[in-house]
């Protein structure tokens, strides 16, 4: 029994010792291995993170430099106050004076257009001399002609100014673009004699 017990005790102790030693050595090995692996991974992670930040910094600086360049050059150049009104008093005055001008027979241009329904040689050539010569340098389109009152799909054209510009064709809503200069005088029968100027952008 003693022997048995002693043996068994010895055996047990030696077994425990052996197990502990093996476990300890395994643990140590694992710890050494994990330390080795972690340090390499940590190094790689650090390098990766540094590269990320370096690239991010370069990107931030580039975006900032572009923004500063654009704001200091492009936006600065265009800081001009826009005109107070969309009207053009000089063009409107010329238009009124043209309509009041009389031909050799003493008939006003307004009356000529109203009765004939279109330009004739006298008022057409005079309108070219005035409006094309005076206002084409300030506007993209200079158009004069008879137009319908209100929205209409009818495209009006004449021999002197051609078709009405697409920018102002199509009725009152599109005509009221803030920069377009529109002057018209009623001719009756839902018609107007109209001057349309489309400014350069």
């Amino acid at each position: 029994m003693f022997n048995k017990m002693g043996f068994s005790f010895y055996k047990r102790v030696s077994f425990v010792k052996e197990t502990t030693m093996v476990e300890n050595s395994k643990e140590l090995h694992c710890k050494r291995k994990s330390k080795f692996v972690l340090s390499r991974m940590a190094k790689r992670a650090e390098v990766g993170e540094t590269v990320t930040w370096a690239v991010a910094t370069v990107a931030i600086v580039i975006i900032l430099v572009i923004s500063v360049f654009v704001s200091s050059t492009y936006f600065n150049e265009n800081k001009k106050a826009s005109p107070l009104t969309s009207g053009d008093y000089l063009a409107a005055s010329s238009f009124n004076s043209w309509l009041l001008t009389k031909d050799s027979s003493g008939k006003m241009i307004y009356e000529q257009i109203k009765s004939e329904g279109d330009f004739n040689g006298y008022n057409g050539n005079l309108s070219i001399d005035i409006f094309k010569r005076f206002y084409e340098k300030d506007y993209i389109y200079v158009w004069l002609g008879i137009n319908s009152k209100g929205p209409s799909l009818l495209i009006r054209n004449n021999n002197y100014f051609g078709n009405i510009p697409t920018e102002i064709r199509g009725g009152d809503i599109t005509k009221r673009h803030i920069k377009n200069v529109i002057e018209d005088v009623d001719l009756g029968e839902e018609k107007v004699i109209e001057m349309a100027l489309v400014p350069k952008t």
């Binding site: 330390k35 650090e46 930040w53 910094t57 931030i60 600086v61 900032l64 923004s67 500063v68 704001s71 200091s72 936006f75 600065n76 800081k79 001009k80 106050a81 826009s82 005109p83 107070l84 008093y89 000089l90 063009a91 005055s93 010329s94 009124n96 004076s97 043209w98 309509l99 009041l100 001008t101 009389k102 005035i130 010569r133 005076f134 300030d138």
Partner: protein
């Protein structure tokens, strides 16, 4: 081991904080510069001012499509009207007392009257600092702004005229930097 890692990480966090503050400062400085460069520059209102001056002159010279009475006499410019042009048209070229503007005029106005058919001149009015006109047509940021426009007008006898108005505004100090 853990202590070492902790210390190392702590240093990294501190460096990262400094980096973050540096980036924050750079971005903030960039935004401040952009805002200042845009809003710090004054709006150039001289073209609008010259346009307004031209319109005022045209309003003064015309009345419902005809030349205003008293401006032309027998087809030529009335000298009385020319002599009191600024007061007749309610114009005032006075400027604020800044940048020495009162010593040299900041406006120039020239009105030329032509016979429409023949193109011959029938009169000329000029007011203000005539030296400003020499800069018209040249390109440059610090030069005066010129507006040169024409309009057509007739008198009650159906004589046709072309009127050319040249308005020049300097005021570069307040409108351009």
């Amino acid at each position: 081991m853990n202590t070492k890692y902790k210390i190392k990480n702590k240093n990294g966090v501190e460096i990262l904080s400094v980096y973050w503050f540096a980036i924050l400062f750079i971005v903030a400085a960039g935004i401040v510069y952009m805002v200042y460069s845009f809003y710090g520059q004054p709006y150039d209102v001289r073209e609008t001012e010259a346009d307004a001056l031209t319109t005022l002159v045209a309003r003064c010279l015309t009345d419902a499509g005809y030349v205003t009475d008293g401006i032309l006499l027998e087809g030529v410019l009335n000298e009385d009207f020319k002599g009191n042009f600024l007061s007749n048209c309610n114009l005032n070229f006075d400027v604020e007392d800044a940048y020495g503007w009162q010593d040299s005029g900041q406006f120039y106005l020239e009105v030329n009257f032509f016979n429409f058919d023949s193109g011959t001149s029938i009169g000329e009015i000029s007011e203000g600092n005539s030296g400003l006109k020499s800069d018209c047509g040249q390109k440059g940021k610090n030069l005066p702004v010129c507006v040169d426009r024409d309009f057509y007008v007739i008198d009650k006898d159906n004589n046709q005229y072309k009127i050319n108005v040249i308005s020049v505004v300097r005021k570069t100090e307040k409108n351009v930097q």
